[in-house]
Amino acid sequence: MEILLSIGIGALVATGTWLLLRERSFSVILGLTLLSYAANLLIFAGGRLGSDDPPLALPGQEAPADPLPQALVLTAIVIGFGMTAYLVALALRAKAETGTDQVDGREDRP
């Protein structure tokens, strides 16, 4: 489980970083989205992974799952979603203003 999760996070970070460094704003946005997925999974893993921990502290039960990372990750998802939506709108507006979706707003090559 731990191995699977860490490989998944690593793959997301690698792909996200590669996309972030690309030239077109669409790839950059995708890269940021993947990076934020990786960060969210990492927060989730911060509360330790367990397969059958109950979500609530019911009577007689020993150790429920840590609720705080779930609250944190929910906040982070909401913020990340809003930010991505804004970035998409901004990139579209920038394309309308500058006529290109190159991140610096200029086409160097024909």
Partner: protein
């Protein structure tokens, strides 16, 4: 009275919601609500400064959930000073924006209020995740404000700024996940205690986590090598927005100082995490900003590089970390924030008076009301470059007398004095181009001089300059007390979490 501490965040938040609900009623209402809200925030900031002047650290647990599980707001001298500086910059900036800048796009006023709410929240919170949330609040608002007014240059600068800050936010989240995963808490006071008793196998992870977090703060504060976004973004923003942004780099410096001193100072785990790097990088920031001032072709780019310059100077002072240097920085910080904010407003007036040429440093048409703008330029130029007799000189003297007798101290002497000289040179050359070498207007005549009502923001910002000089005695005493309280650490930690409090912990599998 306990809710006084919440007001710097709540008042702008409520004002923003009101504006959004009533935005069909026209701009007059939004302006009225916005100015009333900023005036109220300024009043609350003064009350907070008076309330914490005695040295008490004041905490409010939101929803009465006890720390470290609930979120606490903490007011000590450092926090309330920053809140007061924010209010002192926001009020003139908003007054200046009401001259019509706010009508060049939609929803200027709600964004402005949300930005202030985010800034105040970031200064007052005692919890790292909450700090992240308030960072996001102020960043979302700043994204909107930066592109306010539109145009290709703003869109390009905006896209870069947003992408860079989103990447920074992701790094911040990764750091928070690692901190929570290893220490099991995100409350700053609790974290400072837990750092003393972490198991050996977590050492590397904890160092990595705080290293990442400090990188994020360095990005927000715009210290080299993460500083190249600043001149680009600030010069593209409209003048009142750039004036408000003058506070935003200070949030990064504040967070750096707060986490380094209050959170990490006593722990051997994080010793030396930043100290070998920060001083050289801060000095290098000063050098690069000085070169940027020399190379700038627009007045607003000059001012943006001056903001960067002051950030480098403050970061060098904080990196050395002695009480005297932090005290000097706490006097220099309000000065530089207020003066650069006023300078952005002045650059806006100059650009407006010169019509199509704008604030480019080339010969242009004669400005209406040039003598008055020239007088304001002289005052601000003297203050910002640190010439006597204004506050920049006093601040620089305090910084340099407190500089240690080491390589770092000598580097501070050389770079601070040379950068002041270069700044004075560039501003003098620009003044002669802007004010003394007008060309005969062959294009359309420049618009008529702005009436006094439209200069209120600049006038209010200028009024702070003599106050900083005349009040230098009490202000520097306050700055010293701030530095002492910050470095003592214990009052802050004990106010958030009583030393004998038993904290129940999550059980970790």
């Amino acid at each position: 009275m306990i809710h006084l501490l919440l007001l710097p965040v709540l008042v702008p938040l409520v004002a923003a919601i009101l504006m959004l609900a009533l935005h069909r009623r026209g701009p007059a209402l939004a302006r009225g609500v916005g100015l009333a809200s900023m005036a109220l925030v300024a009043l609350v900031a003064v009350l907070l400064v008076l309330r914490t002047e005695g040295g008490a650290v004041w905490t409010v647990a939101l929803g009465d959930w006890p720390a470290p599980f609930g979120i606490v707001l903490v007011a000590d001298r450092l926090s309330v000073t920053m809140v007061a500086v924010t209010a002192a910059v926001a009020l003139p900036a908003l007054l200046a924006a009401c001259d019509g800048t706010d009508l060049r796009g939609r929803h200027f006023h709600p964004f402005f209020q949300l930005q202030v709410a985010g800034l105040n929240g970031a200064f007052l919170t005692g919890d790292l995740f909450n700090l992240f949330v308030f960072f996001e609040v102020l960043l979302i608002a700043s994204y909107g404000l930066l592109v306010h007014g539109g145009g290709a240059a703003r869109m390009r600068a905006g896209l870069h700024y947003v992408v860079l800050n989103l990447a920074g936010s992701t790094l911040f989240l990764v750091a928070l996940a690692l901190v929570y995963g290893t220490l099991g808490t995100l409350n700053l006071a609790d974290l400072a205690r837990r750092l003393l008793l972490i198991p050996a196998e977590d050492l590397a992870l904890v160092r990595t986590a705080f290293g990442l977090m400090l990188v994020v703060f360095v990005l927000k504060a715009a210290i080299l090598p993460l500083s190249f976004w600043l001149p680009h973004a600030y010069a593209a923003a409209s003048p009142p927005v750039a004036a408000l942004f003058a506070v935003m780099t200070k949030v990064g410096l504040y967070a750096l100082l707060r986490v380094l001193v209050t959170g990490l100072a006593a722990s051997p785990v994080t010793a030396g995490l930043l100290s070998p790097w920060l001083t050289p990088l801060a000095i290098a920031t000063v050098v690069v900003a000085t070169l940027g001032v020399l190379a700038a072709t627009r007045l607003s780019t000059v001012v943006a590089n001056l903001v960067l310059l002051s950030t480098g100077m403050l970061a060098a002072a904080l990196a050395e970390g002695s009480a005297a240097l932090i005290a000097a920085a706490m006097y220099y910080l309000p000065h530089t924030t207020l003066v650069t904010a006023a300078f952005f407003l002045l650059a806006g007036h100059i650009a407006e008076g010169r019509g199509e040429v704008g604030d480019q440093l080339t010969r242009g048409p004669r400005m209406p009301a040039a003598p008055w703008l020239g007088a304001a330029y002289l005052v601000l130029g003297v203050a910002v470059t640190g010439l006597p007799p204004l506050s920049g000189f006093l601040g620089k003297v305090m910084l340099l007398t407190a500089a240690p007798a080491s390589m770092a101290g000598y580097a501070m002497w050389i770079t601070f004095i040379l950068s002041g000289f270069v700044g004075a040179l560039v501003l003098a050359r620009s003044a002669s181009t802007l004010f003394w070498e007008p060309v005969a207007a062959d294009g359309p005549p420049a618009p008529a001089g702005p009436p006094l009502r439209r200069n209120l923001g600049l006038l209010l910002a200028l009024a702070f300059v003599p106050m900083l000089v005349l009040g230098a005695g009490p202000l520097s005493a306050h700055a010293r007390a701030t530095a002492e309280q910050l470095l003592a650490r214990q009052p802050y930690l004990d106010a958030v979490l009583p030393p004998d409090a038993e904290v129940a912990r999550e059980r970790r599998p």
